[in-house]
């Protein structure tokens, strides 16, 4: 299987802090790669560095064989990378419709894709012309994901989509992400919810202190409680 995204020896400094300390990772085409780790391990910084929101101070990032570490964020997005930041990042002054139109970069919205999205997130149809700021937390997260998938993307970078959401909404999100996965999407997913990670992940990368400390199959990590405790200080069972 070919790797769509590759990071080799990536370092990122934020101010005087050395956050990413030589990241090597690969995201295979058509797979969901989980990026796990404790708070402050550098997971979000990794996504932001790939997206160009933080400039890598050294190392190589390639997308489909093309170097992107020096490219500007809009160019990386235009290469087909969809980014769903954490904390329900919608444009709250715009309507649900306007948020999605923006994500489609003002091309026409694909009705079939829209109906498919509404199938998972009926609330978005109901609040189509409402301000995104007036949506609940779960609905905002749905909109944030819908924005990333309204157009076909080569790669999706999703940062903790289930954070702070009610269990029922988490289940709907997992179902949606599974469906996106079935459609052949390549996803790099940061997640603290192990249940979601086990349900969705093909492979897993565990980070600590700005480096990758474990890589392997998600199923293998899910089955190995001592390894989970060693790497993450927690066991999968405790989070179900």
């Amino acid at each position: 299987m070919t790797d769509l995204l590759k990071l080799s020896g990536v370092h990122t400094h934020i101010g005087r802090y050395h956050i990413l300390q030589g990241i090597d990772l690969a995201v295979p085409q058509g797979q969901v790669t989980m990026l796990l780790g404790r708070n402050g391990a550098g997971k979000t910084t990794t996504l932001r560095t790939i997206m160009g929101l933080w400039q890598a101070s050294s190392g190589e990032i390639t997308l489909g064989g093309e170097r992107i570490e020096s490219r500007a964020t809009p160019d990386i997005a235009r290469l087909g990378v969809g980014y769903v930041p954490e904390s329900m990042a919608v444009f709250s002054d715009l309507t649900v419709k306007e948020n999605l139109m923006l994500a489609a970069r003002d091309g026409p919205l694909d009705d079939t894709q829209l109906d498919w999205i509404f199938g998972f997130f009926p609330a978005l149809r109901r609040f189509w012309l409402s301000r995104a700021g007036s949506l609940s937390g779960g609905q905002k997260q749905m909109l944030s994901i819908a924005r990333a998938i309204i157009e076909p993307r080569k790669l999706l970078l999703i940062d903790e989509p289930t954070k702070g959401l009610a269990p029922a909404i988490v289940m709907a999100l997992i179902e949606c992400l599974k469906e996106i996965k079935r459609k052949g999407a390549t996803i790099l997913l940061v997640e603290q919810n192990f249940f979601a990670a086990r349900e969705l992940g093909d492979s897993v990368l565990v980070m600590d202190n700005g480096t990758i400390v474990h890589r392997g199959e998600m199923a293998a990590l899910a089955a190995d409680v001592p390894l989970q405790e060693r790497l993450l200080g927690l066991s999968l069972e405790a989070h179900q």
């Binding site: 964020t73 809009p74 444009f91 002054d93 309507t95 306007e98 923006l102 970069r105 829209l114 609040f127």
Partner: protein
């Protein structure tokens, strides 16, 4: 609906207030006789367009610029210098427009490309520095600009007060060149506001709003925000220069006090805030309230003070003395910001309901 680019006032009271202002402005030459009323009405028209163009920057992109009066001044001076130098003819008017508008747009482009990449506060500082430099330049180049005295000029024959277009015997009103100039100011200001309304309700306007809320998120969606901000800056500068042209045509004069001073910049800021940022309509209301208060509060207070003194009320005649009008103007602004933190338009729209929810797409 088409003319408003699908963005109606969305509040009955607001619609009514806007209609009253626009109809009153349109009928000023016939309803309110005298030069002062016509001057105030023309100033409201010019400032409504100028403030709306500033709203495109401040309200829709969240960019604070102090160079807006500079673009307004470029328009004013371009038309004044052309009419002064070439004489009162339409060729000079055309030259002023052809030189003034592109000059403003090019300067805005240069400022935008050099400084919109940096943090907002630096952009504000750079615009402040450029505007100050321009103000000094305008007063120093006295051979061109007339220095501190500015440039007075004559208008083409058709726009002069002495030109009677329709005599009093036809409608009972005399339509002269001055009234024609007023309607020119009114129509072009209205057109510029409608164009701005179209811009903010276009896909481009949506991107601007996204940038205002979170620039990085907009970039992560693939938008080159520097391009969008620079384009907005150029558009705002073009409209500001257009308003400057109208102002100079109306006053038949361009000088530092009427077109470049920082007090105009402060007035614009106040008008945007009073009217309501990010609404465009707020510009019309902000300009009307501010300029009416600036021009009539003093005489209104004179009447109130006299009435209070005749009624034998203590303290009030002194408090309402016309000399204290600036105090009351200040209090009026503090009250308006306190009671309408989202501006008059924001308050009225909020009262009238938000963007309605709908079930279909």
């Amino acid at each position: 609906m088409m003319i408003l680019s699908g963005d109606p006032p969305r509040s009955r009271v607001l619609t009514l207030v806007l209609l009253v202002i626009i109809l009153a402005l349109a009928a000023t030459p016939f309803l309110f006789p005298g030069a002062k009323a016509l001057n105030v009405a023309a100033k409201i028209c010019v400032f409504a367009a100028l403030v709306a163009s500033y709203d495109l920057l401040l309200g829709y992109t969240g960019t604070v610029s102090f160079a807006h009066t500079m673009f307004y001044g470029i328009g004013s001076y371009a038309i004044a210098i052309a009419l002064y130098g070439m004489g009162p003819n339409w060729g000079a008017v055309a030259t002023g427009i052809v030189v003034g508008l592109p000059l403003a747009a090019l300067l805005a482009l240069a400022i935008g490309l050099f400084s919109l990449r940096v943090a907002a506060i630096f952009f504000a500082m750079i615009t402040l520095a450029v505007a100050s430099a321009f103000q000094v330049l305008a007063s120093q180049l006295s051979w061109l600009t007339g220095g501190e005295d500015g440039r007075s000029f004559q208008l083409p024959e058709l726009l002069r007060p002495g030109t009677v277009l329709i005599s009093k015997s036809v409608f009972g009103f005399e339509i002269n060149g001055r009234i024609l100039t007023f309607y020119l100011v009114f129509a072009i200001s209205a057109l510029m506001i409608l164009v701005l309304l179209r811009v903010v309700n276009s896909p481009f306007g949506r991107v601007l709003q996204a940038i205002r809320e979170n620039r990085f998120r907009a970039e992560a969606l693939g938008f080159r925000t520097v391009f969008h901000l620079t384009y907005a800056n150029c558009l705002a500068a073009l409209v500001a220069a257009g308003a400057g042209i109208l102002n100079a045509l109306w006053l038949r004069y361009a000088g530092p006090d009427t077109s470049l001073s920082f007090s105009i910049m402060l007035d614009i800021l106040l008008m945007v805030v009073i009217g309501g940022m990010g609404t465009i309509y707020g510009a019309i209301i902000g300009a009307a309230i501010f300029i009416l208060a600036q021009n009539y509060l003093q005489s209104l207070m004179g009447v109130a003070s006299k009435a209070a003194s005749e009624a034998g009320l203590p303290l009030l005649p002194g408090l309402l003395h016309p000399d204290r009008w600036l105090l009351w103007l200040g209090l009026l602004f503090i009250a308006s910001v306190y009671f309408f933190p989202t501006g008059v338009v924001g308050r009225l729209r909020h009262g009238g309901g938000d963007k309605s929810a709908g079930a279909s797409h």
